[in-house]
Symmetry: C2
Subunit: 239 residues, 2 copies
């Protein structure tokens, strides 16, 4: 936790917050802070800055906060991700958030096991926990949007075209031969398949919408690694 | 496991192997393979190809193997990593291996907790397990070398200069202002600090050896993410 995220309900007055629970425990056990210490804080959806501890015991943490800095600019990549298994989903949501991604579409695909759609990890509060953890790691206050699409074809044919307006679509895919060059410096929609990859029919459908297959590496990467690797690769081309 | 890694002791004859334990269980429970099926296999340190199952029951898996393909080329980046906490170490070793890194130096740093050096994760067999898991993920047969250096200064002054011969050294560091451009297309030594980063004294010492600080992102990334992000960034510059 490189920044403590504050919510509206933490505020007792315009510049004063009171925290309990997870964040209090973290400050006690990891920061080992005391009254007078300054901590990095940010208001969800707003500015960030510092909080000065005015009261700290086993039950509560009070701070006077001063928030003046904006969050880092968002990543110019939107992610379309075949739903991974729950454990991988959790880590990938956190990682994508730390990379500054602000839109994540979780989609179905032939190789996504049906049971993955039943996981409690997809409940809004569980997803939110991952996003918060990511924001606290990377010092950001802007929550990503996460949406789920349980039907592949309707997503690709009805939702994706709108998402692609003004953006370059890319599929990170290990098995494509002769990948075209991806335009530099664009905003991107990045599609990452499931373990084992999208099936050829799915790749064809994505390519019909204008997505370009991109071979990132001669190696087969884990989903979480592939997301990070592809985002870094495309971001290098933006810079 | 996208490839089953074979060891010398698995061989019963020149082209015949017999497996038990972890790999047998994986073939039974995940591949759900039967006699006659072909599986992707590779010989540790050697070639890769296919194995055809000749016998499969709850006790053993026998295959006739045909190995003709080389592994993908190694990554042209060597990693110098401040020892992370054990859980992160495990995941980072796996990730670095899947990225094709062949040399990993685990070093001390001011912000590395002393207790991290006591973890059983540093035992050679535990490290080997991570490397094997990474190779099986990315279909590679060439084991990385992992070495540990428990004293920062002697490593930087006595070991690093040799490692830097013919290579460009880079520190992935979130807090450096005005980072110089990193030369493209080089072989690299990439240094990644602990949670919280290298302290200024350590950065100075690394810079004295010629390392260039590289600000990867305005965000603070987790160690495992930073490794992947930096490797992808430098690899994009190699391509």
């Amino acid at each position: 936790m490189n920044m403590i995220l504050l919510f509206d309900e933490d505020y007792m007055a315009a510049n004063e917050v009171c925290l309990r629970g997870r964040r209090l425990r973290h400050v006690l056990s990891v920061h080992r802070a005391t009254v007078g210490h300054q901590l990095r804080v940010g208001h969800l959806g707003g500015l960030q800055g510092h909080g000065t501890i005015t009261c700290l015991d086993d039950n509560q943490l009070k701070m006077m906060v001063q928030l003046e800095e904006p969050s880092p600019p968002p990543c110019r990549i939107e992610l379309v991700l075949a739903l991974p298994r729950p454990k991988v989903l959790r880590r990938t949501l956190i990682t994508a958030t730390t990379l500054g991604i602000k839109k994540i579409s979780l989609i179905n695909s032939w190789r996504v096991e049906k049971s993955f759609w039943q996981t409690p990890m997809l409940q809004p509060d569980k997803i939110q926990q991952c996003l918060i953890e990511g924001l606290e790691q990377c010092r950001d206050t802007q929550l990503p949007q996460v949406q789920t699409y349980r039907l592949f074809k309707p997503f690709v044919e009805d939702v994706l075209p709108q998402q692609l307006q003004g953006r370059c679509g890319v599929i990170a895919h290990p098995h494509v031969e002769g990948s075209e060059p991806v335009p530099c410096g664009a905003d991107y929609v990045l599609a990452i398949g499931p373990e084992g990859g999208f099936i050829p029919y799915e790749v064809d459908l994505l390519c019909q919408q204008g997505l370009i297959p991109l071979v990132l590496s001669p190696r087969i990467l884990k989903v979480e690694t592939a997301v990070c690797y592809a985002v870094s690769h495309l971001t290098s081309s933006i810079l």
